[in-house]
């Protein structure tokens, strides 16, 4: 993806913005806004065997969102994308592109991960139009939709913790953390080496913390994929907040053994064991309580993995190897995909069952193991394991 340079575009935008106020031309009439979809569907209904015959399902197949959610997204970005002549983007017939068509083009580009030429051909626009539309959409979404990713307020956090405890039996659990690599190609120059990861891919990290509904409540992206996961965590603002007591500092719970259990999240063995970050027991000869902890821990932890698999499956641009992306713009693309992921969840859309990745989100990457063990974290894990053991024993009896 190679969006145009921002500076040029901004200048042009500002320049023509003044003219638009004096000589406004109507965009495509409202009646035509539906037309783009029908013409697109007719053109692409036979593009693959998996294309549903049902219109709504076909819409969701192509754009990953329901028509209702699509309208919501359009409403978010409308004021940024509305075409103003002569700067307005046009189709090959010379007509201005409606906001809906622009959003559809951008969503199709992100969802399919197909080339700009292919997406442009499907919509009857040129490659450069796809490039411009997609980048405008991403910029707009970064600003207009950022409320879809936020750390939960105390009330919301209480709901999340209750859900985790009810579903998985873990008290005071606030979420699950995981990380994935967004693979790309880079020019074979020396500066690219810093982006080369352990599997000899050029990649960028995405770390996400999800709630019980696989909604991202915190993400970090932009760091080189060659880092270890534990270092990625330490580079994140979330880690600094937790270490300084500004996050996961909610009310403590008392375990069955009358020991305090503070708020925590769960992560896999790649993360360090900290007082607020629980990792599974590893090695042979673990006790029954440890095994019970590991089982519950794994269930919660998989939520993060599934969220990333779903993210990469729905927004295939993240799953396909990106061809020499602008490393400064790629984080924005990843962020917008995460925002769209949350919008789908927030709007209650149901995804196609086969749209998510069938295998692991980071297929081909070996599981990392972090040996760092914090004494407080170790004690906290012991407490949790004991609590779970007691909880299961009381339920069995």
């Amino acid at each position: 993806m190679a969006p145009p340079k921002k500076s040029k575009k901004t200048k042009r935008k500002a320049k023509f913005g003044d003219k638009s106020s004096t000589d406004p031309k109507p965009a495509e009439p409202k009646a035509l806004e539906i037309d783009w979809w029908y013409s697109f569907w007719q053109k692409n209904c036979n593009s693959g065997p998996a294309v549903p015959t049902d219109e709504d399902e076909a819409f969701k197949y192509f754009f990953r969102v329901s028509k209702k959610t699509f309208e919501y997204i359009c409403s978010l970005v409308r004021q940024d994308l509305v075409s103003r002549p002569p700067s307005g983007l046009i189709n090959i017939e010379g007509r201005l592109l409606s906001v809906e068509k622009q959003v559809a083009i951008a969503l199709r580009r992100l969802a399919s991960g197909e080339s700009q030429v292919s997406v442009g051909a499907a919509f009857g626009v040129g490659q450069s139009t796809v490039s411009q539309v997609t980048w405008r959409f991403i910029e707009s979404m970064e600003e207009r939709a950022r409320h879809h990713i936020k750390w939960p307020d105390p009330d919301r956090m209480e709901q999340i913790k209750n859900q985790f405890e009810t579903t998985y039996g873990l008290p005071n659990c606030c979420g699950a953390i995981d990380a994935t690599h967004i693979i790309m190609t880079l020019p074979a120059v020396e500066s690219s080496d810093d982006w080369c990861d352990h599997e000899r891919n050029y990649s960028m990290f995405l770390q996400g913390i999800v709630d019980h509904e696989m909604r991202f409540i915190d993400i970090v992206t932009g760091w080189p994929g060659g880092m270890t996961v534990s270092r990625l965590l330490k580079c994140s603002g979330f880690f600094k907040h937790c270490e300084s007591g500004k996050r996961l500092n909610g009310p403590v719970r008392m375990s069955a053994e009358k020991t305090e259990i503070r708020e925590f999240i769960v992560g896999d063995a790649a993360y360090p064991l900290l007082s607020w970050l629980m990792t599974p027991y590893d090695g042979k000869g673990i006790s029954a309580s440890m095994a019970a902890f590991n089982a519950k821990h794994n269930e919660v932890r998989l939520l993060a993995g599934r969220a990333l698999s779903q993210l990469k499956g729905v927004w295939r641009i993240l799953h396909k190897v990106m061809w020499r992306p602008d490393k400064h713009k790629l984080p924005s693309i990843i962020l917008v995909c995460c925002l769209l992921h949350n919008i789908i969840i927030d709007n209650g859309d149901e995804l196609h069952a086969n749209v998510a990745l069938s295998d692991h989100h980071d297929a081909g990457y070996k599981e990392q193991s972090c040996q760092q063990v914090d004494p407080d974290g170790k004690a906290m894990r012991e407490t949790l394991a004991g609590h779970l053991h007691c909880y299961e024993a009381s339920h069995l009896s």
Binding site: D194, I219, V220, G222, W223, P224, R231, C235, R247, P331
Partner: protein, 354 residues
């Protein structure tokens, strides 16, 4: 009394003069002579009828000697004093400068100061010039010894005419003895000043009429160079002994006066030292007090745009340094802000601060 007159006329272009001088010097070796005057050699012609040395140049004089760029006799009282002390006279109508040597005192002193041996008979210019040692600029004039000592007497005055009676030298010596104390009493420092001025004048003349003696022009060139910005500061920066901190400038100034030909190796060292010092200075600037950052030069550097929803503003620019598995991260924002503020004017900066 000997009155050797130097008639110096300003030629058109220096290069053409030099070429002409060189050609004529080769052609008329017998007639044209190289008259050594201190470190300066001036080609001239001896008039057979008079004991005058004519220094004439082929191009008709358009600018008299008074308008030599470096000196202006009307304005420089020192130069006027110099001319008067040398018994130089100016004929503005003819555009000529006449230098009449009324006494041998001046030339004797000049020869002595420049390390030339005083010839027995100053009128015998052929003999004098032929006896001048090899005009090699590298030859130390102080170590000069007369090639034919039998024709030279150490006490014979240089300006004694051949036709004069033997009593004349004695009278002249007497005159000299009388004159010298008066001169010294009148102005003790004037002799040294005169010498300096003469050196300067010699250099100026040599600069204008280069006769092949490069060392003579060196004085003027050195004085010119020292007064101007150095063309290539690298070559002039500190000698090997000059320390980087305190005596850096002193060392540089000292190195400027060292001819590069005589000390090429030290010049190389100076450059190396200068390079080192510059590297050190740059290193010091880059570290900005943090000892950890001094190692960052060995790291590979990349910049990244990081989006972190736990950070204010979400988006930030980071500088990432990597050496194998060691990563160091620096915030790029502070630097950007500093640069932005530097770029902004005062008003904008104030507004920005408000």
């Amino acid at each position: 009394m000997i009155t050797n007159t130097l008639i110096i006329m300003r030629s058109g272009r220096r290069r053409r003069t030099e070429q002409w001088m060189y050609r004529n010097h080769k052609k008329k070796e017998k007639k044209e002579l190289a008259y050594k005057m201190g470190p300066t050699s001036i080609a001239g012609r001896v008039s057979p009828s008079s004991p005058h040395i004519f220094l004439s140049l082929p191009v008709p004089p358009r600018v008299p000697v008074l308008s030599i760029p470096c000196f202006h006799a009307d304005r420089h009282s020192d130069l006027r004093r110099f001319f008067s002390s040398c018994n130089l006279s100016f004929d503005l109508k003819e555009g000529k400068m006449l230098c009449s040597r009324s006494s041998s005192n001046w030339l004797d002193r000049l020869h002595t100061s420049k390390g030339f041996c005083i010839p027995a008979a100053d009128h015998d210019l052929d003999h004098f010039l032929s006896s001048i040692p090899n005009p090699n600029p590298n030859t130390n004039p102080k170590s000069c010894s007369p090639p034919r000592p039998e024709t030279w007497t150490s006490d014979a005055p240089l300006s004694q005419p051949p036709a004069e009676k033997p009593a004349a030298p004695r009278r002249r010596r007497k005159q000299q003895q009388q004159q010298q104390p008066q001169y010294a009493a009148g102005n003790k420092t004037f002799a040294g000043e005169k010498e300096q001025l003469f050196d300067l004048m010699s250099s100026a003349l040599a600069e204008l009429f280069i006769m092949g003696d490069r060392s003579a022009t060196g004085i003027l060139r050195a004085s010119k160079k020292s007064a101007r910005k150095q063309a290539n500061p690298k070559a002039c920066v500190p000698s090997a002994s000059a320390s980087i901190d305190g005596s850096f400038l002193a060392g540089a100034a000292a190195a400027c006066h060292v001819p590069p030909v005589t000390s090429p190796s030290s010049a190389d060292n100076s450059v190396a030292e200068a390079k080192n010092s510059r590297t050190k200075a740059r290193g010091k600037r880059g570290t900005t007090g943090s000892p950890v950052e001094s190692d960052l030069s060995t790291y590979s550097k990349t910049d990244a745009t990081v989006i972190d929803t736990s950070s204010p503003g979400w988006k930030s620019e980071k500088l990432i340094f990597r050496k194998g598995m060691v990563w160091k991260v620096r915030d790029k924002n502070l630097w950007n802000v500093c640069r932005k503020k530097r770029k902004l004017g005062l008003v904008e900066r104030l507004i920005d601060e408000k």
